[in-house]
Symmetry: C2
Subunit: 322 residues, 2 copies
Amino acid sequence: MRIAVDAMGGDHAPHELVKGAVQAASDLDGVEIILVGDRARVDAELSRYVCVNGRITIEHAAQVIEMHEPPAAAVRCKPDASVVVAGELVRSSAADAMVALGHTGAAMVVAAMRLGRIEGISRPTIASPLPGRNGHMVLLDAGATVDCEPHNLVQFAVMGAIYAERILGVPAPRVGLFSIGEESTKGNDLVKATFPLLRAAGLHFVGNVDGKDIFRGAADVIVCDGFVGNAILKVAEGVGEMILDAIPDAATRGALAKRLDYSEYGGAPLLGVRGVCIIGHGRSRAKAVANAIRVAKVAVEQGMVRHIHDALSTRGLCAQAH
Amino acid sequence: MRIAVDAMGGDHAPHELVKGAVQAASDLDGVEIILVGDRARVDAELSRYVCVNGRITIEHAAQVIEMHEPPAAAVRCKPDASVVVAGELVRSSAADAMVALGHTGAAMVVAAMRLGRIEGISRPTIASPLPGRNGHMVLLDAGATVDCEPHNLVQFAVMGAIYAERILGVPAPRVGLFSIGEESTKGNDLVKATFPLLRAAGLHFVGNVDGKDIFRGAADVIVCDGFVGNAILKVAEGVGEMILDAIPDAATRGALAKRLDYSEYGGAPLLGVRGVCIIGHGRSRAKAVANAIRVAKVAVEQGMVRHIHDALSTRGLCAQAH
């Protein structure tokens, strides 16, 4: 299996990307990693490691999309950008999956253009890990689709449940609809219209869950629109940061920081596209990179894309129905 | 000045309500408190305090609205409920303000029906305190109006700025529009449509603020729709709870819990109605009750309702304009 990694994406590229790839290559059996980026710079980093066993290769890409660039325009104007070349490798079947940690918007545009959407999916979604009391949960959408219709949320729920079950190994994942109260009458218009659809979607639907419930482990998969999902993730990070900074004891602070650290959980898959695309924080370090590559491997092995396609067809939840 | 307090609202009524009222009566000059509720039960609590100086009276109300009751129906069916009687005291000018900690929905219905909306206000809003790094900020809407139009958010911003300046004493409060990124192009349709209106609203508008920015003190007043606002508050509480529970040292845990505790900040005003109505957590204890009464006092003294009316008229932001 070959996984293309955008080696130039994020705040610590290519150093941490290469380091993470080397770690993944040594940890994961049967994975060949293609580092996509400036050959000279990536090679300089790679040469620091004595033993990569020929399982890491470099694919040259002359351009880089910077964090501040508007995604669609940048992808159009920079056909030789590392993230674009990584997507092209998957499109042409030269790679089985892509990992892009850095410019999420650019990675989404590349995935949409190069991989295309799974038949029947109207909007893609980012399934983000969210730390909870008992391990982590899956939150989606984490920001791919900010304005949603009820049928988008239903598709997110189905995709999230498949991801949780097949890739994270959660049996019969409990799906919760994020709202501002548990009662089915609580919520905004979107949530109220989505509730009955989710109940009929053939999932293990546990009803509405609110911002306190989710951190108590009320659901394995939490569904919301991309605006709310991104808000939840950033508020959780912001509050965590504020509280950690106020803890005087360094050891306690360190232990808690580790528990809340996203890099412990790996990257977030972009679901709904015809290929495996794992995205993540621009500030990812080697550990998060290695985790993202591991997630990509499992998603390919488990046939995640096919399962999503089948689940939507079976349930009659394809976009054409709407 | 007379402040009507629903003595039967919340999880610890009437015990903590009476205790908080006694504390407020002793702390605040010129305030007479009317405890509204079952006379026998309230009197039994009140008789435990030797010296209330005649500044606390009881107004009998035979009924109580329970937390699980649907607000509109409960207010209609229970005309003698404590929260309804408290609202009636304000409507008839027998009291200058009402404090209702418990059933937020019922308090809102009472305020809307008994006090009415300020001329030009299309939707009321709850301005909630939110703990931050450097003291607390004001978040609105905290859940009064879950589905909003851009002009609702602009009215919330104006009301929040007046509340922060006049009642909390923040000079020229910085107003931020909650979004999922700082750039003016980030956000959902609602946020994008609201941004230019806020820029033109004659406020100290600092642009978009995200879930991490707000806890770093990027704004004094944070504006969003009631669904997102309520989500932010509950996520912040949920994350705080989760982290606190994981801190082994009891002293550290206690100090942080105090800092995150809502009761330190007082109640949340319902803004946009023709009278002062302070609402709050159903689990409020005496300290939160006393704080809420203090907020009510300042709001009356400062002529909050008149300032909101004037500010909207001056800016031409009344609902008729839309």
